[in-house]
């Protein structure tokens, strides 16, 4: 079974600065998908960024980028130019490929943005 580990329960960052959230995972599969989801205080979870394991290029979405190290099974999220609206709980998730793919989540990292 796959496992996802987020070793930082809480992180804080000053507004406009950069922060990196860590995620490691364990799998024996060669093809899979990785995700970062954001859960603001309003509770609804939304997708921040995704990465396909077969792609070597790191995904980027505006101020959000990932550092995907397949051999190390590491998938960190970098938030640049942090904004107050980035304050939320962030979850790293793993999904197996195919129609029967199941998603596994880490325990989350709570990010505080200081003005």
């Amino acid at each position: 079974a796959q496992t996802v580990t987020q070793s930082q329960p809480e992180m804080s960052v000053q507004e406009a600065e950069t922060v990196t959230l860590s995620c490691t995972y364990d799998t024996s599969e060669s093809d899979y998908y990785l995700f970062w989801y954001k859960q603001p205080p309003s509770r609804q979870m939304i997708l921040v960024i995704r990465q396909e394991a077969y792609k070597q290029q790191n995904a980027t979405e505006n101020r959000f980028s990932v550092n995907f190290q397949k051999a190390a099974k590491s998938f960190s999220l970098k938030i640049s130019d942090s904004q107050l609206g980035d304050a939320a709980m962030y979850f790293c998730a793993y999904r197996s490929p195919g129609r029967a793919g199941k998603s596994t989540f880490g325990d989350g990292t709570t990010l505080t943005v200081k003005p």
Partner: protein, 115 residues
């Protein structure tokens, strides 16, 4: 509907009562998950439905928990003889089963409080 809809948004019940939580996924999404999230904690997998396949019930914490999905669409999570430790937010998510991206779409959750 446009998004995943869950009801009720909040439910307060007395210990020992049964509760039903409903999830209406995005139209056309063949896979559906239930997760449980205790206050400030990560997502605990409960059950996974994929098309007409037998559901993956490996996350259900006890036989007081059950779920069904009728007609491949709406799902109901039932908790019998509720206990105080069942208090949590119950999140539903759906996904297009043939999707290569694997993104989950979440509802806003049902907050259950057992007195």
């Amino acid at each position: 509907g446009a998004g995943v809809s869950q009801s009720p948004s909040n439910k307060v019940t007395e210990k020992g009562k049964d509760v039903e939580l409903r999830c209406d996924p995005i139209s056309g999404h063949t896979a559906l998950y239930w997760y449980r999230q205790s206050l400030g904690q990560g997502l605990e997998f409960l059950i996974y439905f994929q098309g007409n396949s037998a559901p993956d019930k490996s996350g259900l914490p006890s036989d007081r928990f059950s779920a069904e999905r009728t007609g491949g669409s709406v799902s109901t999570l039932t908790i019998q003889r509720t206990q105080q430790e069942d208090s949590a937010v119950y999140l539903c998510a759906s996904i297009f089963g043939h999707s290569n991206t694997g993104e989950l779409f979440f509802g806003e959750g049902s907050r259950l409080t057992v007195l």
